[in-house]
Symmetry: D2
């Protein structure tokens, strides 16, 4: 996987296409295939819940994106691989026409995985022909924008592919692993995690967001326009909330004390019987035992493993993150506070790590590459935000309702995909993403 | 009703208790009874949907509030009217203990309306004894805060009582009226509504919110603290969107064009078959006819009446307001923009009007007393917001999730209840409140 | 109530209209009013579940039946009381046109109870005019058939009125009583219930069902035609299963042993957490105590009372009756076995008893007037059964699916309504009727 | 497939195991594999609705049956293939312990199809060892009973495998075929279907059911005991209702006339929008056209094909069959009438046909091998029916509720599986089985 990572990192480094767009295209596309490589056709078939999609669908849909938005309108004489795929692999673009119902993606045993891979090869060949000989400088701006959007879209689905596979494996009582434990990268450190310190910010009138007029780097439309926000003085915890921290919350009755929760969150706790993070499992033998910390295991992409106490707590909903923060007499940062703090922080990718670990140094750490961090900010348009025309305009704006913003990136985020201005967003009850939290306080 | 209104207006005038707290208490409480007076015991019994409550429950619950938070802890020797009421009339205060399930409030034929009125008399007598001889100056601050909270709480339920009764009557195929048409106040004007103009604001770093440290006037906790917000230059429409405006949106395919809607809103339009505002009904005889504007009637508290084209459009969800604004190439104002614009606007109450009318003058109008105005702002805590300790702390903070802020007040808001800093909030799909919209644009 | 009972018993005695149809009509109709007399307008308003109807609706619908099927087609110049009632009080007659949705019957605060009583008076006056001077001999056969159907229909709703009121009161945490305990009829006996013996039948080719060609007595269409059935030798328990019997089933793990239950029944037990008959309540003080029999109370129309161990077990679903029988190494009787056994048994009514008691003698007892008895027979048409033409044909036949037959009658059945050939029917999971069981065994 | 068929036919011929139980075992088991042979691992993975199971699950569950009920208790030293399979492949046997939830069978990508086939090989080897050298005469009666039950159980799942695959393929917008059209057996006849005549029966006291004491042939427990039933004179239609017949019902408003339907059926028609049999599809091009018969296609295991007007109507629910019969002024036969009529009819299998065709001769035809025929009989225990002890007792008895009996067999029934006394059963709304109807009339 290393060659791919290097190339993708190249995209990441400049935040844009490398000098050779065709090469970038091929490397990003190859990474999707590499992620699916450990999986059988059956693994790629299953849709384990309506929120998730089958791996096969991810592989087809990302291909459909290039076919629909680049090849069909821009490549002369391009012949679609299969007209039926226009409906099957449309996710949510009403402008494009009919869609196969989302909860029924897992019902399609045909096209087979082999045929989807042939679809990828067909589209990739056509894309290579389009990009042949094109340099970064020469590429038409409209094509270039669509190409970059398509590649970042593919990278988003690379992360979803991992989170969806994880969920699918987790509902299997056999708890199969995506990757063998032996492949785990060496743990960065065996030394105890440093106590979390705080980093202080004076706030004031600051700017956040992507400045499309000043930068040629890629960003999604929802990161614009750059604008001013007034911040009171605040501080951020140097590291993420760890499993050890979160166990203390549970031990203190965190899931039984309504006063710690938002009303909708408490309803969810009661109705769904939440007692711990999404993928924690009590060891069967330990049931009825003393309830010591050792009783918990965590399901990871490497299977069911003992809980790593110093690793970042993961697969938390916004409701859990918010309740934890209230219990800790702190709060979640706003997205503006987070972005302002991230200004000087280096981007970091942990592709292949598959699960967060403990921080490996002191100071403001784990901003990127561990878990997405819930913020206190509802996902809304920035002042002056305008949705793009046409189908591509359905990308972000229409979801600005009843979701909260997450910042940073995770172990499942491909190299080169993270940005300091990136706005990820999910509904507050969702738990299957690599999501955790960092505490904030007002000064 | 006029005596009551005068007294309540007195509360409103000062934004706080009048010189004689006992008199204020009696007048606010009496207003609830007056609102229920046109209704039979059967009318007061029915709960027409889980969002709504029976009138009888409103009358009991507001009484329970004074009994639970003032009389039981603070009035020596107070004997609760009926111990069972502690559970039956608890709305959502987990701290207070068990609650009767909200969707089952309409199942309780006992206690009877008569007994609930006796409960009110019992509690009112005890409250009068507590307040006897107390002047505004002499009243203990903690008691005073609870008294004001209780009275504003009662006023909130006065508005809900009207919206809930309206819904209950609307599901009856007989379309009964709450008040006869003959009682309608004289229409302010028969002259055509002026074309909406725009009022411009330069923005900048402005302050919004209630300053608890500087003001003795009452405000809910969610209006604090006062804080700075940076606003870009903007303009607000001088008047609310009217039924005539909204008909143009419908005629232009507003309910059939997905691109105008948020994704969750479009799902709702399709699933529930939305085609017009909540209480609009097509005239049966007109079905299949040319679809002229005259075909629509609107259900009001005075029964089913021809649509008043110049009146403010009403009973819109946030989704509809947002889609309308997008169609009109404008947007909803943020709550900060709205509050900043309201700084110089006189509060206005339309108690007894029961339905919005056309604006009666030019300039920035209908900010208060017509319909609540959806804003683009999610309902979240202000910077530095802290929830109060104990049961009273469950009043506002725990609902800060998946709701949008409405500003202003409506024809159903009791006199003296509105404030420029008031933050009303509902989920974006809700339609049974007196809710509409005012357009905004960036400059 | 005694005068009414006498008259209604007169209907029962002959199984048909008395010599004076007008008098019979008035007495049956008056009984409905008498049943509603202890209730407030609020009590008559509430619909506590979709299966149940408000008392006010029962009073209106039974009146609608006479207006729709007798007065409108047969009474010259009859003017309907209110055209809107045609829809509001239609239960399930598609032939008659639109219906108000069943689960929304409780939402109609208007028409008021007073107006429904006026409706009854209006229709009764018109009916009296139709029947004036008519004798049993002179009445036209078609009118007579409709009149009898209308009266038996009214009696069915009299039983439903009581079962529905009981449910409505049971969901109120105050557990109000329909009738004071003091009004309870003297218990028949304080002597211990005799041990249940068995009555044997040799079976063979027997006849069951109503013979419409030979009898002028009234019967519903589903009781015809009389036909031959072959029965193996069998025996029936002399008395109904008592609460004491049923407690032994519970104590032996009846609700925890899947092997005793039909698959659909077990799903219901698990999903709804069944642990005892529908209206049994554990005494709060006794929770956590030794679980002695004294811990149970039963909600009755006279309020929450200690469980009467010798009374017939009541408010059981078919699933519970079937599981009990399997546990007792017996089975439920078929409806043919039951009817064959009932041939020589006197009809008995317990109007006003409101709750079953212990049997008062030895031999085959409690066939009528205690609780309806679940049979092993699915509710299907008899051989040669034909549905009547028109709206009246919707009375019985269209419900012949997924229901089981109950035989006998209950304490809630009005005097004069029971018949040996009567086929009552409900879905197997229903529990709110006065339903219990009698054991059977093959010989 | 012909070798298998021959062997299985041998079972069918005698209604029991052939002289060589091991050979019979192998041939029945091999047939399951043969049915799955045209399918990919992805096809075998999908569960398209909770009623259906993945092919992979059928292959595993039938194997689990032999492992659990024969090998584990009876084969010394047998080592289960994988302890986890005990839960994963338990269908509904509460006695055996935990079950994987039925609606989640399609979520298990592991074990893979390859591993399930290895499981089959492991169990088959152990079974062959148990049966080695055993002759029909020598085999222990208890083992023989379990072996026959296991084989007939496997054959039931062979039919379900085909119906479930058909459903899975039908929800795919590509409408893939299970078998190519070219493989279809030659149509029996191109001559017009003869008009349906009637065959008359005098009825009387007849016997139906399997006589376990007199016969060594296999039958399920629900076919016993043999018992007497009294039948009135009746006649059965010589052939099944055809697609041509059913089109006339549709054209006459069959799906729009409430009076033709049972109440529960009509609710289903309205709620689910039924307009034709389950797998009929209107040709897209023909929409809005004259609605001629040619507009309909039918999805079959050979793909979407033009409707064969003379073939038996198929994939009808009981509700549709019942409504059709009422429209045709006839009725469904009872199961006793059907079985009595079948006494002299030869069993016929159409393995491999995959879809019903027209009758190929006159007289009473299509009793077996076309479609299962809904009867008017609820699925209940015969007089004297007793459930077997232990887990095997969960096979049939616990489902005797809210289902109707179907008689005969279908094109999907394996050779050797049908019996004249066979009682198939499904809920009245189910449509995915090969189910149709034959008319009956009383004389």
């Amino acid at each position: 996987m290393s060659g791919t990572e290097a190339a993708v990192a190249q995209v990441g480094a400049s935040g844009t296409l490398s000098a050779d767009p065709a090469e970038t295209y091929c490397r990003v596309r190859e990474h999707s295939r590499a992620l699916a490589a450990p999986l059988s056709a059956e693994d790629c078939q299953v849709q384990s819940m309506p929120d998730a999609s089958p791996v096969k669908w991810h592989l087809g849909h990302t291909t459909w994106f290039f076919e629909t938005f680049i090849l069909t309108p821009h490549a002369r004489g391009y012949v679609p691989f299969d007209p039926a795929f226009r409906v099957i692999y449309n996710s949510y673009y009403n402008t494009v026409g009919d869609k196969h119902p989302r909860p029924e993606r897992g019902l399609l045993s045909r096209p087979s995985l082999d045929r989807v891979l042939a679809y990828r090869a067909h589209v990739d060949a056509a894309m290579r022909a389009v990009l042949a000989g094109t340099t970064q400088a020469a590429i038409a701006p409209s094509l270039r924008a669509l190409l970059e959007l398509g590649l970042h879209h593919e990278q988003q689905h690379q992360e979803l592919l991992l989170t969806d596979v994880k969920h699918m494996l987790s509902v299997n009582p056999l708890y199969p692993a995506y990757a063998p434990i032996g492949e785990a990268p060496a743990r960065a450190t065996a030394t105890p995690t440093p106590t979390a310190g705080w980093t202080r910010f004076t706030g004031g009138l600051v700017e956040i967001g992507h400045d499309a007029s000043e930068s040629t780097a890629f960003a999604f439309d929802n990161e614009s326009p750059r604008h001013q926000v007034f911040l009171r003085p605040y501080q951020l915890a140097d590291r993420l909330v760890s499993n050890r921290d979160y166990l203390a919350f549970i031990a203190d009755g965190g899931y039984r004390r309504h006063e710690l929760w938002l009303s909708d969150g408490w309803d969810r706790v009661v109705r769904e019987g939440w007692q711990a993070p999404f993928y924690w499992r009590r060891d069967d033998e330990a049931k009825g035992a003393s309830g010591s910390d050792g009783a918990w295991r965590e399901f990871t992409l490497r299977g069911l493993v003992p809980l790593d106490l110093d690793a970042a707590a993961c697969h938390l909903s916004f409701f859990e993150a918010d309740a934890y923060a209230r219990w800790a007499e702190a709060r979640l940062p706003t997205e503006a506070e987070w972005e302002h703090a991230a200004a000087g922080v280096a981007l970091q990718a942990n592709e292949g790590a598959l699960h967060p670990t403990a921080p490996d140094r002191v100071g403001l750490t784990q901003m990127f590459g561990a878990v997405w961090q819930w913020t206190a900010s509802a996902y809304l348009g920035y002042p002056g935000f305008v949705t793009a025309e046409g189908a591509v305009g359905e990308y972000n704006g229409k979801f600005m309702c009843n979701q909260f913003v997450l910042r940073g990136s995770s172990v499942a985020t491909p190299a080169g995909h993270a940005r300091r201005t990136y706005r990820n967003f999910f509904q507050p009850e969702k738990r299957w993403q690599f999501s955790g939290l960092r505490l904030a306080k007002s000064l």
